[in-house]
């Protein structure tokens, strides 16, 4: 088979590529606007409920994916044990909530335990093969089988969920649309915005954030400046893992936890960061909202094919921007 000999893929000239992108984006905007207006005028309560479901689910996806993208951004570690961390954080939170009855304690325990686990796996396993991206990813995948299997042994196969905090267990009346919406889901949205703003402040306006950003751009240079890069790595891994553990507790209160859910959250975190651009926290926020909305609308309007529609979003974004919406070339 000789495919080559002189055949070259001719890159599109910059202008025609820009025109194509503009047309694609414009067509999408027109379609979305038309769809929104039509559905809003027909059944506004249903439309707003789906939109809120999409937004709040996107908020949960953002919480989960932010830790993933943070760790990848600095350490270049694709943590495929991410879903298992999410599951375990949720289960630990569930245990603590059962024992103490406190949601806040459950959230702290989930975040703390996974932070410790994350640092332990980084120090004991990943550091030995640091810089070998593929091997690191595969090791975390192996770790995920072990965690998921042990969680199954300890907590069994039945779905569990965490009681939402007392003040948030009811529904909030959304007057504009005249509908009742679960308060906890709105709380998740607020939580995600708070975490997003917090991360943005940390990364852009503190000295630690400056070191982390410098480390993303040029690790050897940061080390040459006399900063302890390994310590920064540990801190970022701990923060990223804590976010994942925390989102596990939130996820267990929002929906429920069961064996197999680790795969779902890993998949959605991957899509969110691939769509948003690997390593970018802002990208993860945009990606999460997009994925959440597309997922929920597709689930209602094309139930048999909703998975394909979400996949279509991924393909579309990659076709227009191979590095994701806010991603930069590696």
């Amino acid at each position: 088979v000789q495919l080559a000999t002189g055949v070259r893929s001719i890159p599109l000239p910059r202008t025609s590529r820009a025109i194509l992108t503009t047309v694609a984006v414009a067509a999408t905007v027109v379609f979305v606007a038309q769809f929104t207006i039509r559905e809003l005028s027909q059944d506004s309560a249903q439309f707003i409920t789906i939109a809120l479901n999409g937004l709040t689910l996107g908020a949960l996806y953002f919480l989960a994916a932010s830790g993933f993208t943070l760790i990848f951004g600095l350490l270049r570690v694709v943590n495929l044990a991410h879903g298992a961390f999410f599951l375990l954080g949720g289960y630990i939170g569930y245990q603590v909530a059962q024992d103490t009855g406190s949601w806040v304690l459950a959230a702290l325990a989930g975040a703390g335990a996974i932070a410790v686990l994350g640092v332990a796996s980084q120090q004991l396993l990943l550091r030995r093969i640091q810089g070998q991206e593929l091997r690191e990813a595969l090791v975390t995948l192996g770790l995920s089988i072990i965690i998921a299997d042990l969680a199954l042994a300890h907590w069994g196969g039945q779905p569990v969920d965490i009681q939402t905090p007392p003040g948030l267990s009811g529904a909030t009346n959304i007057h504009v649309a005249q509908l009742l919406y679960p308060s906890f889901r709105l709380f998740v949205l607020v939580l995600a915005i708070a975490v997003g703003v917090g991360l943005w402040l940390l990364l852009k306006h503190t000295k630690t954030g400056m070191i982390i950003r410098a480390g993303v751009d040029d690790r050897p240079m940061v080390a040459a400046l006399g900063l302890n890069v390994q310590l920064v790595f540990v801190a970022v891994f701990a923060l990223g893992a804590a976010l994942v553990g925390f989102s596990g507790v939130v996820g267990a209160s929002y929906l429920s936890l069961a064996p197999g859910e680790d795969g779902r959250y890993l998949l959605y975190s991957l899509i969110v960061v691939i769509v948003g651009g690997m390593g970018s926290v802002t990208g993860a926020a945009i990606g999460a909202v997009l994925v959440g909305l597309v997922d929920q609308f597709a689930a209602v309007y094309v139930p048999t094919y909703s998975v394909l529609v979400t996949f279509g979003l991924l393909v579309l974004v990659l076709a227009v921007r191979p590095t994701g919406l806010l991603g930069r070339a590696a």
Binding site: L3, S9, L138, G142, S144, D149, A153, G263, L266, V307
Partner: protein, 331 residues
């Protein structure tokens, strides 16, 4: 060197004899649960080792490919009542089509990005199989698939099935080995080592990677047909994350760069799955731990460890005509 070649021929002949005579002395459990299962698992892992070792594409979408074959075979024969062989042909074509689409989506990404994208594709297909009930029958899947007969030979018989699996596995191995030695295969290895340079030389890198992925899809599809006959059913559970990891475990245990390693890894995994229950209830924990240990200790897997030991012994005896083991390209 001729001495080495003779020894090699002897080893191959002994192996062939062993594999041919295996059903005569092995129990049915060994023929079916170890023999046949490692054959098809090895074929699927072979497609991954080819991609990882020769093209630098570590694909986690191979379960998606062999799963699509299984689903098409099961649906056409059990639900639609097609005769077996046309269904198999359509299924293999469908799997190659799935592989091509996956490759088109992922062909512009490399290394870790490629791994993530193919992983997403693999998990996607699992959820799609769960959701697309009209074709896949959802969670419970399609049951009652059985091996057909060929020229009057009933393949449901374990020994006959074993020989068929052996023939397919040998064919797949020879086909992949042949492809790696063609100009196309050499180009792929060039792409593995430096895709920018190959692009600069005028090669259409993306097209080559897509073609390689489609070829690997064909190999995985062969394993998929055997797998669905072996299991007698297919359900989303046959292509979930655990299965994705199983294929990866096989390839990594076997060493990600030796084609023969596929079956070494497959035998190791089937033995582990069959006998680990006697030691512990947590088979997956054990498999995960073995996987992590091999990754941390030896990039060449069991084959690599074996070669290492062999080289040490030879150099201790003061004669080693062979060059040192090549390093794994983790691209």
């Amino acid at each position: 060197v001729t001495q080495l070649a003779n020894r090699r021929t002897a080893v191959v002949a002994a192996l062939a004899l062993f594999l041919l005579l295996f059903p005569m002395f092995a129990s049915e459990f060994w023929i079916v649960s170890i023999g046949i299962k490692s054959m098809w698992l090895g074929i699927v892992a072979l497609s991954l080792i080819f991609l990882a070792g020769y093209v630098g594409m570590v694909s986690l979408a191979q379960t998606a490919v062999y799963g699509s074959t299984g689903y098409v075979v099961a649906n056409l024969t059990v639900v639609q009542g097609w005769p077996t062989w046309p269904a198999v042909a359509v299924a293999i074509l469908a799997a190659v089509a799935v592989a091509t689409v996956a490759a088109v989506v992922a062909s512009r990404s490399y290394g870790i990005y490629f791994l993530m994208l193919t992983f997403a594709i693999g998990v996607f297909l699992f959820y799609f199989a769960l959701q697309y009930r009209p074709f896949t029958q959802g969670f419970s899947g399609i049951n009652g698939v059985s091996a057909p007969s060929l020229f009057g030979i009933q393949l449901t018989n374990p020994t006959n099935f074993y020989y068929m699996a052996l023939v397919v596995a040998t064919g797949a191995y020879l086909a992949v080995r042949h492809v790696t030695r063609t100009p196309f295969g050499l180009t792929l290895q060039g792409i593995r080592d430096g895709h920018e340079r190959m692009a600069a030389l005028g090669y259409n890198v993306a097209l080559h990677r897509i073609a390689a992925f489609a070829f690997a899809g064909l190999i995985a599809a062969l394993g998929g047909v055997l797998a669905v006959w072996y299991n007698g059913q297919i359900s989303p559970g046959s292509i979930d994350i655990t299965r994705i990891i199983d294929i990866l475990v096989v390839a990594v245990i076997g060493g990600l760069y030796r084609l023969q390693g596929a079956w070494v890894g497959a035998i190791a995994l089937t033995l582990l799955q069959a006998y680990a229950n006697d030691i512990t209830n947590r088979v997956n924990t054990l498999i995960g731990a073995v996987f992590v240990l091999i990754l941390l200790l030896s990039p060449g897997g069991l084959v690599g460890i074996g070669e290492d030991v062999g080289r040490r012994i030879r150099s201790w005896r003061g004669r080693d005509p062979r060059p040192a083991t090549a390093e794994v390209n983790t691209g």
